[in-house]
């Protein structure tokens, strides 16, 4: 080993993910030039918009050393709630507000149990996964509820402005908002402080418990928004949406972006890079007609490899 190569490796380590994205884009576009068509590129972002919104909103939770496994059922719940409010004839703003509020409420309940009673996040949100799924099914049953004659609501998932789907604007808006929270407001510092050393943050006067509760509310808010986009995109609301695996995709994006599950380090902007990485991988493999089994194996291997490398760096 020359003395130079570890030096280069150390310098490149923080940029490994963007470099990997660039490498995959080059490979995919050489093998299949259609990959670089604007339509396909917009398609990639549109595909990842929902997972992206959930992942950016969950980043803070993971930065505090927590986790949110309940996003899948929350996604289903907000769609079903919005559907019923719509059926009752309320105008669009109220529909959206109630749908999103249902998500925020779930997040506040799990957040309160985690922050104020000190219960482990993984079990609380696992329990909430079960409770929220049951509640959504109780409310809406296992059937699909079709959403008809709601142009305003349908626009959220299917409409586009200047050729770009509206859901992408939502993804960008949420991302900017959460990045703003992290970079420009005291919340960012408080989140990092809780993740680094919760006791110390508490003793230095941060309102750690209240903050933590609101972070889970934010994570659930993201899931609820994704649920509204989903139900609007497919013109149906169902309590079975957000099936098992949704939460794992969101979590994988966050940790690929370099946020440690142990808390502390983390960046919302890098989460978005992680989201894009997974989106490009799956789109590229679809274009190349890679079968589902190889896709799953590749996804697992890439996540393990990327994080093992990050650990070394």
């Amino acid at each position: 080993m020359s003395a130079l190569s570890p030096n280069i490796a150390t310098r490149l380590a923080p940029h490994a993910l963007p470099l990997a994205i660039a490498a995959f884009v080059v490979v995919f576009s050489i093998i299949e030039p259609a990959f670089l068509k604007p339509d396909n590129l917009v398609g990639i972002v549109r595909q990842v918009a929902m997972v992206g919104i959930m992942a950016t909103c969950m980043t803070f939770v993971i930065m505090t050393g927590g986790i949110d496994l309940s996003v899948g059922p929350v996604l289903a719940l907000s769609g079903v709630v919005a559907f019923f409010v719509m059926e009752a004839g309320y105008p669009l703003p109220i529909v959206l507000a109630v749908g999103l509020a249902s998500g925020v409420a779930v997040g506040m309940v799990s957040g309160a149990m985690i922050a104020f009673f000190g219960l482990p996040p993984i079990i609380v949100t696992l329990a909430m996964l079960s409770i929220v799924r049951g509640s959504a099914l109780l409310l809406g049953g296992p059937d699909l509820h079709s959403i008809r004659d709601q142009p305003g609501y349908t626009f959220i998932g299917t409409g586009s402005i200047a050729g770009i789907p509206f859901s992408i604007y939502l993804f960008i808006a949420v991302s900017l908002l959460v990045i703003f929270l992290q970079k420009m407001t005291p919340i960012g510092i408080c989140v990092a402080a809780i993740g680094e050393n919760e006791r110390a943050a508490f003793l230095s006067g941060h309102r750690t418990r209240t903050t933590k509760m609101w972070l889970y509310a934010l994570s659930s808010f993201g899931a609820a928004l994704a649920g509204i986009i989903q139900s609007s995109q497919v013109h149906t609301a169902s309590a079975t949406y957000g099936e098992f695996g949704t939460e794992l995709d969101a979590i994988a994006s966050v940790v690929l972006g370099g946020t440690s599950l142990m808390g502390g380090n983390g960046s919302v902007a890098r989460t978005i890079v992680g989201v894009m990485f997974l989106g490009i991988m799956s789109n590229g493999m679809n274009i190349l007609n890679v079968s589902i089994d190889i896709q799953l194996i590749a996804k697992g291997a890439i996540i393990a490899l990327a994080l093992a490398l990050a650990e070394r760096g």
Binding site: L126, S135, S291, A298, I303, A304
Partner: protein
């Protein structure tokens, strides 16, 4: 002693729930119902026993559902695609499952991945492998062929203990499924391993404080890898019992089942903060969940409410665990104050 207070609580809760359903749910206290309970939840109890090992090490194994599917598919392929006898397919499935578990451990130890991430990525990878080797897709006409190997189907045997022992003239006993006895055997073997051997002590030490364990000369890496291998082995065992009961397998076998296993272990008093818990707790936790599901169905309560109640029970269990932990801390602080 600490283990006992959590364990006694879950046993009491179990008995209370049992008494409640026997009193109020129609047809609950019948032999055939207990037969269903034993046949339907023994393999989940085995999964929960396995899952306890990573949790005792302050880790977690999210991949057990995928390992279960993989082991099931290996047995399916070997008996139906290659016409190999079951006495080869059964060990092969168990070995594959054990290796999958060991690989989780290696990823955690050698690549220094967090258990959540390591097993999250193998969850995807193993599930992909199941699709890749699926005999149902490689040879489409097998998709509707049931398993017929006598060795594997033999796992789905029932024993009429009541008539064999003559007790049936006094009381109607359920027929005991073989899977129940295999579960008990697993419990005894791993229970002895955990409480009577040096390896078991190492598990508790590493789970309590890995750094202290390393300084005390315990091979932490080896302990972790073996613990995850045990978890994989249990998933393989559960897979064999499950495919015998279903007499077939699918690519999505065991999807999300890690959640039930983790829930049962936590309800059974295995603490997520590591180093505290036993194996009988998770078994009782599994049957507690099973009893609630079956009991509420008999009471005619919607299965959606059952999901809600499952979550609530999990919250109660973890709240109780937290309560015990706080009490432990207070007692420790009081003892320290006395000594000073």
């Amino acid at each position: 002693m600490r283990v006992q207070s959590a364990f006694i609580a879950v046993v009491l809760f179990f008995l209370a729930v049992l008494a409640f359903f026997c009193a109020f749910a129609p047809n609950f206290a019948t032999a055939s119902n207990f037969e269903d309970l034993m046949a339907g939840f023994s393999f989940i109890a085995i999964l929960a026993i396995g899952e306890s090992f990573p949790i005792l090490l302050r880790g977690i194994d999210l991949s057990v559902g995928a390992v279960l599917a993989l082991a099931g598919m290996v047995a399916f392929d070997m008996t139906l695609m290659f016409d190999l006898p079951g006495y080869l397919a059964i060990p092969a499935a168990l070995i594959v499952a054990t290796l999958c578990g060991a690989l989780n451990g290696v990823l955690i130890v050698k690549l220094r991945l967090q258990p959540f991430i390591a097993t999250l990525s193998t969850l995807a990878a193993y599930r992909g492998l199941v699709y890749a080797i699926s005999g149902r897709q490689l040879v489409p006409e097998l998709a509707t062929t049931p398993l017929s190997d006598p060795w594997i189907m033999g796992l789905d045997t029932y024993f009429d203990i009541g008539s064999a022992t003559g007790l049936s003239s006094f009381i109607e006993l359920p027929w005991f499924p073989l899977s129940f006895f295999i579960m008990i055997a697993t419990l005894v073997v791993f229970g002895v391993l955990l409480s009577r051997t040096r390896f078991g002590r190492d598990i508790f030490t590493v789970g309590g404080n890995a750094e202290a364990a390393r300084l005390a000369g315990i091979n932490v890496g080896r302990t972790i890898i073996i613990a995850y291998a045990i978890c994989g082995f249990c998933a393989g065992l559960a897979a064999l019992l499950m495919i015998a009961r279903l007499s077939t397998t699918t690519e999505s076998l065991g999807l999300g089942m890690e959640m039930s296993a983790i829930a049962a272990a936590v309800i059974g008093g295995v603490s997520l903060s590591g180093g505290i818990g036993g194996l009988s707790g998770p078994v009782i936790g599994t049957f507690l969940l099973g009893m609630v599901l079956i009991g509420l169905t008999l009471l005619g309560i919607s299965q959606f409410v059952q999901q809600i109640l499952t979550g609530v029970i999990l919250l109660i269990a973890v709240g109780h665990d937290r309560f015990l932990a706080i009490r432990r801390q207070k007692r420790l602080a009081a003892n320290l104050a006395e000594e000073a």
